[in-house]
C-alpha cells in the first residue's frame, strides 16, 4: 500500500468561529485603510486562467500567486467591493453559529432584500463573488454555509455523526437508509465515527450503483459505495477525500468506458480548473480509476458504440491536459480509444448476467490495482 496518505488540516472542517474570524479580517482591512485615510481596497487571488497552474506536488490544479486588487476608488470595482462585503457580512451574521445553510440560488434571491444598490442583477454575479470570498479565505463555500447541490449518495458500513437541521446531534449508519445516505452539506462534513470498510468504490451511474447494492458488493468487497450520478458534486468529492484521508483507505472509481467517464475520475483525483482555489480541500490524489477501460471493451467483448466527433475531440484535449500527461497508463488508455474508435457503458457488463460484475469483473480489476483483500 502506498505510504503517501496525507493527514492534514485540509480534511478538517473549519469551525464557524474560525470562519467568522477569517471574514472579520476582510472587514478589518477596509476599516484600517479608512482609518489611515486611504482608499479602501482588498487583495483577491486572481482566478483568471493565466493564474491557474498545475501543482506537481499536490497533483492538482491550484491558484498561482497572482492577486488582483479590488479598490473602492475604481469605478469598475466599487460596487462589487460593497457587494462582497455585504455577502461576507451576511454569512458571518446570519449563517455562522446557526444550523442554516443557503444555496447559491437562494443567496441571489436574498440579495433582493439588500436594496436596489446592492442586489445582484444576475446569479452569475453573486456566484462569482462567492468564489472570490472562497479564494480570499482559502475555504470552500460549504464552510460559509453556502451549499453545493446535493446529488450523490453513499452506502456501506460507516457511521456518521452530524447535527440535523434542528441542531440536534445524531449518528447515522449509511446502511440504514434504503437507497443510501444522500450527500448534502451536513453529510459531507460529518464526523466519521466508525468505518469498517477498507476501500471506497465510487460509481458513475445510478444503474450500476443500484446493481452493486443489490448484489451485495459492499459486503463482498468490504467497501463503501458512492453514487456519483455523473460528474461528482463538490460535496461528493469532499466526502470521498475525507474518507480517504481520515480513514486512510484507498478509493477506486468505476465509470463508463469513454473519455467523459475517465474525466469524472480525474476531477475526483486532481480537481477541476474552476475550483482551483480550493482544490486542496477537494482532490483525492491517491484515488485510482478502475475502469471500464478502453482495453476492457475488447477484453470483455462489450457491446460498443462508435466514438463521435465530440468524443474524439475530448480525447485530444485530455491528451494535452497536465493532469494526464505524466500518467502513462491513462495516456495509453486515451490512445486506445482513438485506435478502437469505440466506447462502452458500465452496464454493457450485464450481458453476462446480474452477478458477473461482482463475481468476475470487479474482483479482477481490484486485484489488478492491488486493492486490500485481493
Amino acid at each position: 500500500m502506498k505510504s503517501s496518505w496525507k493527514r492534514s488540516k485540509k480534511v478538517m472542517k473549519m469551525s464557524d468561529e474560525e470562519i467568522s474570524n477569517e471574514l472579520t479580517e476582510i472587514g478589518e482591512i477596509i476599516i484600517q485603510k479608512v482609518r489611515e485615510n486611504e482608499v479602501p481596497s482588498v487583495q483577491i487571488p486572481s482566478r483568471t486562467t493565466s493564474n491557474i497552474v498545475y501543482d506537481e506536488n499536490l497533483e492538482c490544479y491550484v491558484l498561482g500567486g497572482k492577486r488582483t486588487e479590488r479598490s473602492a476608488g475604481n469605478i469598475r470595482h466599487v460596487k462589487r467591493l460593497a457587494q462582497m462585503l455585504k455577502v461576507a457580512s451576511f454569512c458571518k451574521n446570519e449563517l455562522m453559529g446557526t444550523e442554516r445553510h443557503v444555496t447559491k440560488r437562494e443567496l441571489y434571491y436574498i440579495s433582493e432584500s439588500w436594496g436596489d444598490k446592492l442586489k445582484f442583477k444576475t446569479q452569475d454575479r453573486s456566484d462569482d463573488l462567492v468564489e472570490d470570498i472562497e479564494a480570499m479565505i482559502g475555504k470552500p463555500r460549504e464552510d460559509l454555509k453556502i451549499n453545493p447541490k446535493a446529488k450523490g449518495s453513499i452506502y456501506g458500513d460507516m457511521t456518521l455523526k452530524f447535527k440535523n437541521p434542528k441542531g440536534e446531534t445524531m449518528a447515522v449508519n449509511c446502511l440504514d437508509s434504503a437507497d443510501g445516505q444522500s450527500i448534502g452539506p451536513r453529510t459531507c462534513e460529518a464526523d466519521i465515527i466508525e468505518c469498517n470498510a477498507d476501500k471506497v468504490l465510487a460509481i458513475e451511474t445510478d444503474g450500476m450503483y443500484n446493481r452493486l447494492m443489490e448484489e451485495n458488493a459492499h459486503e463482498k468487497f468490504n467497501a463503501i459505495l458512492v453514487n456519483l450520478g455523473g460528474q461528482a458534486t463538490r460535496a461528493t468529492r469532499r466526502i470521498i477525500k475525507r474518507i480517504n484521508e481520515i480513514k486512510d483507505i484507498p478509493t477506486y472509481i468505476f465509470t463508463d468506458s469513454d473519455p467523459w467517464g475517465l474525466h469524472i475520475a480525474m476531477v475526483i483525483i486532481a480537481g477541476s480548473a474552476k475550483s482551483a482555489h480550493i482544490n486542496e480541500r477537494l482532490a483525492t490524489p491517491d484515488a485510482q480509476w478502475l475502469g471500464v477501460t478502453a482495453s476492457d471493451i475488447a477484453d470483455y467483448k462489450l457491446r460498443s458504440d462508435e466514438l463521435r466527433e465530440v468524443d474524439l475531440k475530448r480525447v485530444d484535449e485530455l491528451k494535452n491536459d497536465p493532469r494526464y500527461t505524466k500518467n502513462d497508463r491513462l495516456v495509453q488508455e486515451l490512445e486506445k480509444w482513438e485506435e478502437l474508435g469505440r466506447k462502452s457503458e458500465q452496464q454493457a457488463l450485464m450481458r453476462y448476467g446480474f452477478e458477473y460484475v461482482v463475481d468476475e469483473y470487479l474482483p479482477a480489476k481490484l486485484k489488478e490495482l492491488g486493492a486490500p483483500g485481493f
Binding site: 482608499v39 479602501p40 473602492a72
Partner: protein, 527 residues
C-alpha cells in the same frame, strides 16, 4: 385612308390659352390631388403676401383661416398687412395667369415663376365654381375696394362679377377669400406643417392660423427687423450657357464686345473684360451681333477661365445663422441648435447661397429611433413634396452622419435621431425640377454646397454630443462613487463590528475629484 395635308391639319390646330393649358395640366402647378391643392393654395397666397410685405418694408403679419364647408370644400381666407393693391391692377393680378414682373427678374423672390395666386383662383373656379373675393386697401387714407371675380379661361382675362367700395374699417393690406375642393390632412404634408416651417424660416413674420378643426396657431415673431431687401442683378459669367450668351449678344445695345461684357454681366470690369477677349482671341471692338458661332464658344470658354469675383450677395436674401437659430428656437424646444451660412456660389451664372441649421434633442427626444425631420427651403419657401429627388435630400444622404453622432444604417441615406435638419437655398433663379416648385434640381455645385454646409453644422453637433457624453460620464461616475463608497464602509463596519465612528466622505471626495486610482477600461462595470 389617305393622310391629312398640312393645310388640313392647320385647321385643327388652334392656339391654346394658358388657362386652358392649366385646366388640362393642373398637376404641373401643384394641384394634382385635393390634399396637395389645399396646401398649394395657401402656399401661393403666403408667398405673395410675404413678398409684398417685404418689398414694402413692412414686418409681415398674416392671418390665415381655413373653414371646412363639408363635402370636401374648404373656404380659405388669407389677409396680410402689406401695401395693398391699386384698384386697376387687382383684377389682373388675381384674374390673369402669368401676370407679373417676377418672371424675367434676376432678383430673389418667393413667387419666382409668377404663375402664383391666379392659379388658385382658377382652381377654385374649376372645382367649386365659386368666384374669388379680393379685398384691398393701400393705406388708412384710401378707400377699401372689393372685387368678386373669375377667370375667362379662353382669353385668359379677368371676369369681374361684382365690385364695390367699403368703408368698414378694413385694415390696410390685401385679403383673398376662395372656396376650393380639397382635403385637410395632418402631419408631414399638411398646411399646419407648411405654416410651421414658414414661421421657422421667416422669424420676422407673425402668422396667425386657424385650421379646419378649429385649432388656433400663433407663430409669433422672434425678430423685429426685416432682412435687407435683395437687389436685382445681371448674370454672373461663371456657368452661363451658350444659348443664353448667344441671346444676350443679339439683344444687347452695346456696340463692342468689351462694353457688352462690362455692361451685361456682373463683376466684369475693364481688365477682366480685356483678358477674356485676349484669351478668346476675339477682337474687343467687334460688334457683339457679328460674333460667329465659334467666336461665341471661345468667348464663353474664356469667361470661365478668367478669375472673376463672386457675384454680389445683395441680390440674395439668405437666411442668416442668427435668423435660423432664432426661427428653430421659437418653434422647437430643442436642447441644442446650431446654424451655418455659406458664402454665395454660382451655378450657370446664377448666384446661390446655402445655409442650414440643426436642432437636436429636447422635445425631439421621443423621435430617437425615427428618421430625422428634414426641412427644405428654397427662397424661404418650405418644400414639402418630392423630397427624394431634391438636391438637398441627396446631399443629406451623401453625408456621413455616423461621424457626427447620428445613427445612419448602412452609412448612407437619411440618418436617424432626435433632430430637425433645416436647409435653405436662395438664388436669383432656383432650378426647380418642375413648375410645382417642390424639389431642387441636383446640380453638382448645389449638392456640394449643401453638403459642405451640413458638415459644418454637423461638426457643431458632434462637439455638443461629445461634451454631453463627457458630462454624462462624469455625472455617472460621481453617482456610482457616492452610491457605493458609503456602502463599502457600512458593510465593512457590519462585518468587522468595528469602526462605527468612521466616515468615508473625505476619501470619497478625493476619489471623485482627483481620480486617485487609475481607472482601467477592462473589467466589469456591473451597471
Amino acid at each position: 385612308m389617305p393622310g391629312k395635308t398640312a393645310e388640313e391639319m392647320a385647321l385643327d390646330q388652334k392656339e391654346i390659352s394658358v388657362a386652358e393649358f392649366f385646366e388640362k395640366n393642373r398637376h404641373l402647378l401643384g394641384f394634382d390631388n385635393p390634399a396637395k391643392a389645399l396646401i398649394t393654395v395657401v402656399k401661393e397666397g403666403v408667398d405673395n403676401a410675404l413678398d409684398a410685405c417685404e418689398e414694402a418694408g413692412k414686418l409681415p403679419h398674416l392671418k390665415i383661416n381655413i373653414d371646412d364647408l363639408g363635402e370636401n370644400k374648404y373656404e380659405i381666407t388669407l389677409k396680410d398687412n402689406g401695401p395693398g393693391i391699386v384698384k386697376e391692377q387687382m383684377p389682373s393680378i388675381f384674374g390673369k395667369l402669368l401676370y407679373g414682373s417676377k418672371f424675367h427678374s434676376r432678383r430673389q423672390s418667393r413667387g419666382q415663376q409668377g404663375i402664383g395666386i391666379s392659379a388658385s383662383v382658377l382652381y377654385a373656379q374649376l372645382t367649386t365654381g365659386r368666384p374669388a373675393i379680393i379685398t384691398s386697401r393701400t393705406d388708412e387714407n384710401s378707400i377699401t375696394k372689393r372685387f368678386k371675380l373669375k377667370i375667362d379661361t379662353i382669353n385668359n382675362e379677368p371676369e369681374i362679377l361684382h365690385e364695390e367700395e367699403l368703408d368698414d374699417g378694413f385694415e390696410p393690406g390685401t385679403e383673398i377669400k376662395i372656396v376650393v375642393e380639397g382635403k385637410y390632412l395632418q402631419r408631414y404634408h399638411s398646411v399646419d406643417e407648411y405654416l410651421k416651417q414658414t414661421a421657422i424660416a421667416n422669424p420676422y413674420a407673425h402668422i396667425e392660423y386657424s385650421n379646419p378643426e378649429g385649432e388656433n396657431f400663433d407663430f409669433r415673431r422672434a425678430i423685429h427687423e426685416l432682412p435687407p431687401e435683395p437687389q436685382e442683378i445681371k448674370p454672373h459669367p461663371y456657368g452661363v450657357e451658350l444659348g443664353v450668351l448667344s441671346r444676350m449678344l443679339k439683344g444687347t445695345e452695346s456696340n463692342k464686345v468689351l462694353s457688352f461684357l462690362q455692361n451685361e454681366f456682373t463683376r466684369i470690369g475693364r481688365t477682366s473684360g480685356e483678358e477674356i477677349c485676349r484669351l478668346a482671341e476675339v477682337d474687343p471692338d467687334k460688334k457683339p451681333k457679328n460674333l460667329k458661332h465659334n467666336e461665341q464658344e471661345r468667348l464663353l470658354n474664356a469667361m470661365q477661365k478668367v478669375k472673376i469675383q463672386r457675384p454680389p450677395t445683395n441680390c440674395l436674401s439668405p437666411i442668416s445663422e442668427e435668423l435660423i437659430k432664432n426661427g428653430l428656437a421659437k418653434e422647437i424646444d430643442a436642447e441644442f441648435i446650431t446654424a451655418t451660412s455659406r458664402d454665395p456660389e454660382v451655378y450657370r451664372g446664377n448666384p446661390f447661397q446655402v445655409s442650414c441649421g440643426i436642432a437636436y434633442g429636447g422635445e425631439l427626444e421621443e423621435r430617437e429611433t425615427e428618421k430625422v425631420t428634414i426641412m427644405r427651403y428654397a427662397n424661404k419657401v418650405p418644400l414639402l413634396y418630392q423630397s427624394s429627388s431634391c438636391a438637398i435630400t441627396k446631399a443629406l444622404e451623401k453625408t456621413d452622419w455616423k461621424r457626427y453622432g447620428l445613427n445612419q444604417p448602412g452609412s448612407n441615406g437619411i440618418p436617424k435621431g432626435p433632430a430637425v435638419i433645416f436647409v435653405h437655398l436662395c438664388s436669383t433663379w432656383v432650378p426647380f425640377t418642375s413648375e410645382s416648385k417642390e424639389s431642387i434640381a441636383r446640380y453638382p455645385k448645389i449638392v456640394k454646397e449643401v453638403k459642405l454646409a451640413l458638415q459644418e453644422s454637423a461638426r457643431d453637433l458632434r462637439r455638443h454630443l461629445s461634451r454631453k457624453r463627457k458630462g454624462k460620464k462624469e455625472k455617472r461616475r460621481k453617482k456610482i462613487f457616492s452610491n457605493y463608497m458609503p456602502l463599502v464602509l457600512e458593510n465593512a463596519v457590519e462585518l468587522a463590528g468595528d469602526g462605527q465612528e468612521l466616515t468615508i466622505e473625505p476619501i470619497m471626495k478625493r476619489v471623485i475629484d482627483e481620480k486617485l486610482v487609475e481607472e482601467v477600461e477592462e473589467g466589469d462595470e456591473d451597471e
